[in-house]
């Protein structure tokens, strides 16, 4: 989609197009490093978060002020939500700092894309004449940002799993050597193991593929939603620039919160799954089942 403007410079009248691109546009170069408008927004978001933290740190008192109160309410609510996923306060306390950081980083980036200062930018000569490139574009409206977050979430979850239940168990989750070994150890006891074990091994490989799917789903879900919001706002502004985009702005504020919440909740889910010993859990359930059966028989 393109919004066309008329740019008058003396006698020459040239058309400046403002296309909403799928990618973040480059504003300037630093050597061979392209500084995109999304990266600039992210730096701005980091600055905003640092400023908020400094203000909060300075005003930290035992009897809380307004800002501290708001932050405490968010913190307690988020921690309770985290508890509902992890079912353990101990685990929540470990995952929570990462999850809340992701939440604030995504949220501020989402909201920065809604600011009207996106109207400030530079005019560059592109393939199809002059093109307007805004200085700011929502950080999460660039797939590079969401991929960075998703990769960190998935790698972080696996590292967390390694530290929680051990490298051998995590390795067996993907390359299930243990299941293959059971063919030799359990064949006399249970003949079906010869079919079950290769399937289990294959499921492990699928889990490995699933990790990449997680990266793709996390990054493209967030990018898609935020980018779609920006397109929607631009479309509404193109239809009628006054009042019409306002309800959609509120909608996008809400979408920004929801997407940040979804991303951080999924991160907590991945971390929790990774830190859970499924074998032990299964054995416990099996034992519990046997115990229940015994009680029923007796």
């Amino acid at each position: 989609m393109a919004i066309e403007q008329t740019h008058t410079t003396g006698e020459v009248v040239e058309e400046v197009s403002h296309e909403i691109t799928l990618f973040a546009e480059s504003i300037f170069h630093f050597g061979n490093f392209n500084i995109t408008n999304a990266l600039l927004s992210s730096w701005f978001a980091v600055l905003v978060i640092i400023m908020l933290v400094i203000i909060l740190r300075k005003k930290l008192k035992e009897v809380p002020g307004v800002l501290q109160n708001i932050f405490e309410i968010i913190l307690e609510g988020a921690l309770d939500l985290c508890d509902q996923v992890t079912n353990s306060r101990k685990l929540s306390m470990k995952v929570f700092p990462i999850a809340i950081s992701v939440f604030f980083f995504v949220l501020i980036n989402n909201w920065l894309g809604l600011l009207p200062i996106g109207g400030l930018g530079i005019i560059e000569k592109g393939e199809h004449g002059l093109a307007f490139i805004p200085f700011l574009r929502g950080g999460t409206a660039d797939v590079n940002t969401t991929i960075a977050l998703a990769v960190m979430a998935v790698i972080g979850a696996n590292l967390f799993g390694i530290f929680s239940i051990g490298i051998w168990k995590i390795f067996n989750k993907y390359v299930n050597v243990k299941a293959l070994g059971q063919i030799f150890t359990k064949i006399k006891k249970d003949k079906t193991v010869i079919i079950v074990a290769p399937i289990t091994f294959f499921v492990g490989l699928l889990e490995l593929v699933g990790e990449f799917a997680k990266i793709a789903s996390l990054s493209f879900r967030l990018f898609g939603n935020v980018f779609a919001g920006e397109v929607l706002l631009a479309s509404m502004a193109a239809l009628f620039a006054y009042i019409l985009p306002v309800p959609f702005l509120f909608l996008e504020i809400l979408v920004g919160v929801i997407q940040a919440l979804i991303f951080s909740m999924l991160l907590i889910v991945y971390f929790t799954i990774s830190a859970t010993d499924h074998e032990e859990h299964g054995e416990h359930e099996e034992e519990h089942g046997h115990h229940k059966e015994n009680i029923a028989v007796s």
Binding site: L22, F23, A24, F33, N34, T36, A38, L39, S42, W43, A45, V46, I49, I50, V53, I54, L56, R57, L60, E62, Q68, F71, E72, L75, E76, F96, P97, I98, I100, S101, V102, F104, F105, G139, D142, V143, N144, T145, I147, A148, L149, V151, M152
Partner: protein
């Protein structure tokens, strides 16, 4: 894959830059907001818990003290009543004793008075008798003297 990379302009340098951005946010939030705030909230919760415990303890102590006070008050009342009764009884005994003593003393005083009066009476009679005798002797002497004078 190539088409995805070119369509979305996926650039590993920007991915790393964004990861660094998130890293900064995480470190700043964790060290300067979450850690001190969590600590502060835990300390406050501990203080509130301690305050509630202390209030409960104080209430229990107050109840115990009130019960003890009531018990002591009741005991003191009983004891005071006992002391009052004993005092009253003792006072009455002392009163009757004093009355008795007074009566005895009065009787002895009356007796002594009677005895003194009797002695005074005997003495007065004796004195009168002596006086009368000396007067009679004097009168007889005078009569005798007068008679002698007439005889002469």
């Amino acid at each position: 894959m190539e088409s995805i990379i070119s369509t979305f302009h996926i650039d590993w340098k920007i991915i790393v830059a964004q990861a660094v951005n998130f890293g900064i946010v995480f470190v700043v939030l964790y060290l300067f907001a979450l850690k001190p705030l969590t600590k502060l909230m835990a300390e406050r919760a501990e203080k509130i818990g301690k305050g509630v415990d202390d209030a409960k303890k104080n209430e229990a102590m107050l109840k115990a003290t009130k019960a003890e006070y009531d018990e002591m008050l009741a005991k003191a009342r009983v004891e005071a009543n006992k002391i009052f009764q004993e005092g009253k009884k003792e006072g009455e005994i002392k009163k009757s004793e004093m009355i008795e003593k007074g009566k005895v003393e009065l009787a002895s005083m009356i007796e002594n008075g009677k005895k003194a009066m009797q002695a005074d009476k005997v003495k007065a009679v004796e004195d009168a008798r002596k006086e009368i005798a000396s007067l009679a002797i004097l009168a007889a002497e005078k009569i005798m003297t007068d008679k002698n004078k007439q005889n002469k």
